[in-house]
């Protein structure tokens, strides 16, 4: 059924009233060379039944492997109540309703979300969410360049320890806006940005991005990095894992004065992996930068009768009011994902989230310890980590991964493609969902695969 309310007769009547022959005639002012061509590669539409069958088949391809893969999306336990409540009719919509007179429940939920994210990040303000962690970082970069009143520079320093996909996304979104991104290399022993390696008097820059933990799972020296950038007139953007913040110092407390902006991927807070999305991005900042913040912000106020109510606020930042001078062209948020994560955080509480983080950290340590005991496997970096770590193998990783896949195990994220110097290095992750038994069976399996490889080095090729 087409969701278009007008009948053909009505369309004809309207066209006749304004004196044109067809809908096409309404667009004849647009030169032909500016019109988009029909999309050749897009196949014909499918029925609901066909789509369901196709998507079921695709979902089956994911399988249900025992997974030690993280690298930006994390498998955490999601209490059944989270999606049971999220999918209630009162919350479940395809598009976030913002009308204050009709949507007090949704607005209050978004306000609660903002309050929780502000608390987790130790910063005064949170927006109502963005599309995902990578685009949130791109928005944070644009925001920092606008908000820096000390420096007119449009240079932003972004360490190579930031997720490679995030760096790519940032480049795509800000590359044509006159912003120059400069990558900082990491310390090969620690796997972190060594503050001592940073220049005393660098060329002027607008902002520094600090990941915590970084893409290798390694904890950065956030206090020293924050102060280094602030002392040189730059703003600081934290790109953080929200689960880790239950244990680590919030960005608002880094260094002498705290960061200016914090952002990250919200998926770990109650959103299933779902083959990569939808997820949501979060963005928080200091009060003084709020007018440079992109996205929707919900405020609490009182109505004419003095009763508490919730409404969109600070809308003069947004494109329906500021047009081309808006802080962003994002005028919505990931409402449904945020609903789930707000319920997740409310159910877990500060203590529950801390236990998730602590259990993940303990499991990852146990995994690294056991893997290190295998012949030919060693941790690549010597700095503390959160729930991921880089392990170097003395054999071709592609072969080992193939053997693991056959046994229905996802061993981790192979780093060679993104970091040529980390060929045969695997980024492994363990969250609270991994039992001692899971970890033991992964390590045993790896041990068998590695042993078999060594034994196979005989002069006679094994028959296939």
């Amino acid at each position: 059924m087409p969701f278009i309310p007008h009948t053909d007769a009505e369309v004809r009547d309207m066209l006749q009233a304004i004196g044109v022959q067809s809908i096409e005639d309404l667009f004849d002012e647009i030169p032909a060379e500016l019109r988009s061509k029909p999309l050749q590669a897009i196949p014909e539409g499918l029925s609901e039944m066909e789509v369901t069958q196709l998507m079921t088949a695709r979902a089956r391809q994911d399988g249900t492997p025992l997974s030690f893969l993280g690298a930006g999306a994390y498998e955490h336990h999601i209490p059944a109540a989270v999606w049971e409540i999220t999918t209630r009719g009162e919350f479940y919509t395809a598009y976030t309703p913002y009308q204050a007179e009709a949507s007090q429940g949704t607005l209050q939920l978004l306000y609660e979300y903002q309050t929780m994210m502000s608390g987790l990040n130790g910063l005064a303000v949170s927006n109502a969410s963005l599309y995902d962690g990578a685009s949130a970082l791109a928005e944070a970069v644009l925001m920092a360049v606008r908000a820096n009143r000390t420096s007119k520079s449009r240079r932003v320093l972004i360490p190579r320890t930031v997720h490679p996909h995030y760096r790519k996304t940032v480049r795509t979104l800000v590359g044509n806006q006159g912003i120059e991104l400069e990558e900082l290399d990491y310390d090969r022993v620690g796997g972190h940005i060594d503050p001592a390696s940073l220049p005393e008097t660098p060329e002027e820059f607008a902002a520094l991005v600090i990941p915590q933990p970084n893409f290798f799972g390694v904890l950065e020296e956030v206090d020293a990095l924050t102060d280094w950038a602030h002392d040189r007139g730059a703003l600081v953007i934290a790109a953080v894992n929200p689960t880790a913040l239950a244990l680590l110092a919030p960005p608002g407390q880094w260094g002498a004065t705290g960061v200016d902006i914090a952002c990250g991927e919200g998926q770990p807070l109650g959103i299933p992996l779902s083959s990569g999305g939808p997820y949501f991005g979060f963005l928080c900042c200091r009060q003084e930068h709020v007018r440079q913040m992109p996205g929707r912000i919900i405020g609490r106020t009182v109505d004419v009768d003095g009763k508490t109510g919730f409404t969109l606020t600070l809308q003069a930042r947004e494109q329906h009011i500021r047009r081309s001078k808006a802080t962003s062209n994002i005028c919505t948020n990931q409402g449904l994902m945020v609903t789930a994560s707000t319920i997740y955080m409310a159910l877990m509480g500060a203590e529950g989230l801390e236990r998730v983080a602590a259990a993940s950290h303990a499991n990852a340590r146990s995994l690294v310890q056991r893997l290190s005991a295998l012949d030919g496997v060693a941790p690549e970096f010597d700095r503390p980590t959160f729930h991921e770590a880089v392990m170097r193998f003395d054999a071709p990783l592609a072969d080992i991964e193939r053997s693991l896949t056959v046994r229905n195990v996802l061993g981790g994220y192979s780093l060679g493609a993104d970091y040529p110097e980390l060929e045969n290095c695997l980024l492994v992750c363990a969250t609270e969902t991994k039992t001692e038994g899971d970890i033991a069976s992964y390590v045993d399996l790896l041990g068998q695969i590695l042993t078999k490889r060594r034994d196979a080095k005989c002069p006679v090729q094994p028959k296939m």
Binding site: R149, R291, A316, I321, R322, K325
Partner: protein, 131 residues
Amino acid sequence: MSNVPADLKYTKSHEWVRMEDDGTVTVGITEHAQDLLGDMVFVEVPEVGRTLEAAEACAVVESVKAASDVYSPLAGEVTASNEALADSPETVNQDPFGAGWLMRIKPSDPGELDQLLDAAGYEAHLAAEEH
């Protein structure tokens, strides 16, 4: 008809300009402009030292109704900004030609002042805009 002081210069985009003894000019928005915009909730003024082109957007006045750019009446360098407006934007409503000033500019070409409207010219512009 709103108040249009005779000793000031004006732009068609509703800024006023007062020549000071030290060779700088003070800039604000007119009583008519603040009346159209309504209650101010936020004013963003330019940084001291910023170089402005004539007609460059250099400040933002945000009211309960709208957010509007303020345009520099002439080219020059910002020598002072009214930072007090950050905490009391309503001053622009209460005293637009006095305490509600936005910035002071050192004109790079004082001759540009002659191209601005005088009070009579601005009043005529307002009358024309009403039609």
